[in-house]
Amino acid sequence: MNLARREPRWSVALSVLLALVLQALPLPTWLEAVRPSFVGIVVIYWAIYAPHAGGIFAPWLAGLGLDVFKGDVLGQNALAIVLVAYITMSLHQRLRNQTLIQQSLFVYFMLTLNEAVVWIIEGWTQHSISSPWRWIQPMIGAMLWPFVAMMVGRTHVRT
């Protein structure tokens, strides 16, 4: 591995910021219910293709931003995202060799894990509501994965 390789840090920062904006964009209620975790998808992408660019710090910061934005308990989304990033990073070499469809399945499990962690923490800190939409959002996210991966993939040279 070429250590002097340039890491796509700007792409990471911009795409994460864009994901945050997408996450915060006001939407009609029916669309809101199926909005997947864009931050989760982007974080998984960078964890697979450039695990050293953002490290775990970028996902953590994105999660914290999400907490402030949504008015959740500080650290709730951050913990979930950091967990997702860590698991993805430890499997990134295997995931790189998979097709986009295979990756989609992995993304689905990771986004579900993300939701589950948030749900559990909500249950501890306030009372959580388990709406069925919650568990549909990861499916939508997994469906969007190939498109997001292709789009973000154009911003940097894959190695």
């Binding site: 340039r6 911009l14 402030v68 500080l74 009372h127």
Partner: protein, 351 residues
């Protein structure tokens, strides 16, 4: 094209700490943050600053819809405007008729109470805020409003619209504040039926059109169409602000409590403006001070915090006072706290 900027090579050359270790550190940091955020304290000030940092982003995110509204407003036709003016004129005339005898009634009320002059209005000060973002989902019913600590807004401040109670300030930043609506599933509001004086708690359901009154016994006098007003027992809202109208009363003979639903009077979609209000301290209709309630309660009761934490126990609501029509705490001749002490504060959710 490799990067947009001079991303540069990794400065920490090679490995650095492993992912596992770093993950552990960040996870620990998250847990510590969560713990202190729940506990409140110094993290509140940090949060205050963070709200300010996020505010520009929130504004930017909401600018498309704001621009769309502006566009729509600037392209309204003359006829539409004329129609609106006519409608407003009619409304104004009706309102004037309604308030025509207000002064006479007020002085009459003062005489009945044995006061020398009529009481001033309970709302001492008000501030108009503009809604930036509306979040209405089953998980959360919140508003983001463009007034914050710099305008004197404080936590747990009542927020109303022209129609009725909207919610209260949940979190503030310097330039913005987050408002929890009464329909949020984490909100509970002590209310009173205007007609019969029955007191209860209105819980949010997570739906914008429904409140639930789960702690009213079967035989209490509540009917469909009754108007609910704030009872002032929560220490947040002044007495007598309209809240909701009863839409459904279900009496199942096998259950001790009736199932009652109400529709909130304040609408958020219609007008993009809300009112922050300050109650006049010492006024009979001002929110009950926590001391007044504690003195009356034999066991030390925590002050009513409408943002409920645990599930409040289904305490029996006070007996309906049919003998005193529209029995109100403010109607007694005694000053504010004493007047309210006649009401058993059993319906205050004790955390």
């Amino acid at each position: 094209m490799a990067v947009f900027g001079s991303g540069g090579s990794r400065s920490f050359g090679g490995r650095g700490p492993s992912f596992g270790f770093r993950f552990f550190c960040y996870a620990l940091l998250c847990v510590v943050l969560m713990f202190y955020d729940r506990k409140g304290g110094w993290l509140d000030t940090a949060r205050y600053g963070l709200q300010a940092a996020v505010y520009p982003l929130q504004l930017a995110v909401n600018s498309p819809s704001a621009a769309w509204r502006w566009m729509k407003e600037s392209f309204t036709t003359r006829e539409a405007l004329q129609k609106e003016v006519d409608q407003l004129r009619n409304e104004l005339r009706d309102q004037r008729l309604m308030t025509l005898r207000q002064a006479a009634l007020e002085s009459e009320n003062a005489t009945l109470r044995g006061l020398s002059t009529a009481l001033p209005e309970v709302i001492e000060k008000r501030l108009i805020g503009e809604v930036i973002n509306v979040e209405v989902s089953t998980l959360r019913q919140r508003l983001l409003v463009n007034r914050g600590g710099n305008s004197g807004v404080h936590k747990a401040q009542p927020v109303i619209t022209g129609e009725g109670v909207l919610g209260q300030v949940f979190r503030i930043g310097p330039f913005s504040s987050e408002i929890i609506l009464i329909t949020d599933s984490e909100h509970a509001l002590p209310v009173q039926v205007l007609r019969s004086g029955v007191r209860s708690i209105a819980l949010g359901t997570g739906r914008a059109t429904a409140l639930e009154l789960p702690y009213v016994p079967q035989n209490y006098d509540v009917k469909v169409g009754d108007v609910l007003v704030t009872s002032g027992l929560d220490g947040v809202f002044p007495f007598g602000l309209p809240v909701a109208r009863i839409t459904k009363v279900e009496r199942d003979p096998t259950q001790p409590l009736a199932q009652i639903y109400a529709a909130p009077l304040a609408r958020i979609e219609a007008d993009r403006e809300v009112l922050f209000i300050w109650a006049r301290p010492g006024h009979p209709a001002a929110p009950a001070s926590t001391e007044a309630l504690v003195v009356e309660e034999p066991k030390p009761a925590a002050p009513a915090k409408p943002v409920r934490k645990p599930e409040p126990q289904p305490t029996p609501a006070p007996a309906p006072r049919e003998t005193a029509p529209a029995a109100t705490p403010g109607a007694e001749t005694t000053p504010a706290p004493a007047g309210r002490e006649t009401a058993p504060p059993a319906e205050v959710p004790t955390p």
